[in-house]
Symmetry: C2
Subunit: 194 residues, 2 copies
C-alpha cells in the first residue's frame, strides 16, 4: 500500500530552518546544521554510512514527490527532477511561474492538498509518496491525507527559525512505528492515527 510520508529534518525544539530564511537563504541562518547528517561541507549530498544511510535509501525509493511551493521555488524545482525522474506535485492556489513549463515532471495542483496527494499516490505506482515542507505538512494533516511521518530529529536546539508544526487547529494522535538511534540524528517514524 502506497503511503504519503513526510520526511523532514527538525531540531529538538521543532525548527526546520534557522532565522531569516528566504529565497536566498533557504535554510535560514545556521539552518544547514539540520542537514549535516546528509550534506557535506561542500553542499553535496552524501549517503551517510550506517542506519542513516538506510533511511535515506527509503526516501529515494519513493515514487512521487509532493512539495510546498515555497520550497519548490527556492530550489528551482530541483531542475525538474528530485530523484529518479519521479513526478513532482506542487499544491498551490496560484498558477506556476513560467520557468516551470520547462519541467515536464512538475505538476501544479490548484484544487487542494487532497487532490495533490491523490494524484501523487496514483503516479507513485504502489511506492510511497515523499512529502516535504512545513506548510504542506500542516495542510495535509488538517485534511487527513498524511499517512506517516519520518522525522530526522537533530540533536540541537536552534532557538529560532521556521517551525515544522507551528499551530494546528486540532490535535493529531500518532503511533510510533520505528525509532532509529544514531549519533547524528534520531530517526522517528510515526503513523498518523485516524
Amino acid at each position: 500500500m502506497s503511503a504519503t510520508v513526510l520526511y523532514m529534518s527538525m531540531s529538538l525544539d521543532g525548527f526546520i530552518t534557522g532565522p531569516d530564511d528566504g529565497p536566498d537563504n533557504g535554510l535560514g541562518t545556521g539552518g544547514e546544521r539540520l542537514h549535516d547528517w546528509l550534506i557535506n561541507s561542500a553542499g553535496e549530498l552524501v549517503r551517510p554510512s550506517g542506519p542513516s544511510g538506510d533511511i535515506l535509501d527509503e526516501l529515494f525509493a519513493t515514487g512521487a514527490v509532493v512539495v510546498g511551493r515555497r520550497t519548490a521555488e527556492i530550489v528551482d524545482h530541483w531542475g525538474g527532477d528530485h530523484h529518479n525522474g519521479v513526478r513532482i506535485f506542487v499544491p498551490s492556489h496560484r498558477p506556476p511561474n513560467d520557468a516551470v513549463a520547462a519541467y515536464p515532471r512538475v505538476t501544479y495542483v490548484t484544487d487542494g492538498i487532497a487532490s495533490a496527494m491523490a494524484q501523487a499516490k496514483e503516479a507513485a505506482g504502489g511506492r510511497d509518496v515523499l512529502v516535504h515542507g512545513a506548510y504542506t505538512a500542516q495542510r495535509a494533516l488538517e485534511a487527513g491525507v498524511l499517512d506517516e511521518l519520518e522525522i530526522h530529529q537533530i540533536p540541537v536546539l536552534l532557538g529560532k527559525g521556521r517551525r515544522l508544526f507551528g499551530e494546528l487547529p486540532a490535535g493529531v494522535e500518532l503511533e510510533v512505528r520505528r525509532v532509529v538511534e544514531t549519533p547524528e540524528a534520531t530517526h522517528l517514524r510515526y503513523r498518523v492515527r485516524r
Copy 2:
C-alpha cells in the same frame, strides 16, 4: 558526578501543556495526554511496566529538585515533598508566598538560576538534580547550568499550548546519550555540549 537533568514530557510538536493552561488547569486543555504514560485515569501516578518504568525510577532517584515558580505554585509545592524528602529549590525574583513557610524542604532562591542549580547540586549529595519547568529550563540553558535533558516525547501533535523551548537567544548543541523506544513515549536523553 552530579548532573542537572531536565525531565519533561513533550509532544512531537514541542508542547508541554495544551492551550489555556493556568492555575486551575495546570496542563491546559487536553494536556493530560502528555502524562498518560505515568498517570492513570484517576489522576494517580502509576509506575509503568517495561523501560518507561526504569526511566521513572531514575527520576525518583534524584537528590534534589529545581522547579519553576509557576509549576511549584500550581501543585502547591507538592505539599512540601516531591519525592523521598529531597530539597526543592525554586528560582524566583520575588519572595515566596506565606504558605511556603510550612514547607521546610522548599527554598526560594532569589539570586538567579545558577545559584539555584549550585545549591541543588550541593543538596543532592552526588545524586542528579531533577529540573522541571519550561521557563526554568530555558533560563538554565542560557546560563549554561543545565547538564542533561531527558525528554519523554509523546506520540501526539497537540497543535497548541505552552512550548518547552519557545525561542532561545542562541543555539545549543546536544549529544544523544540514549534513546529508549516504547509505544507510549520515546525517551530521549541528551547531554548539553559546552
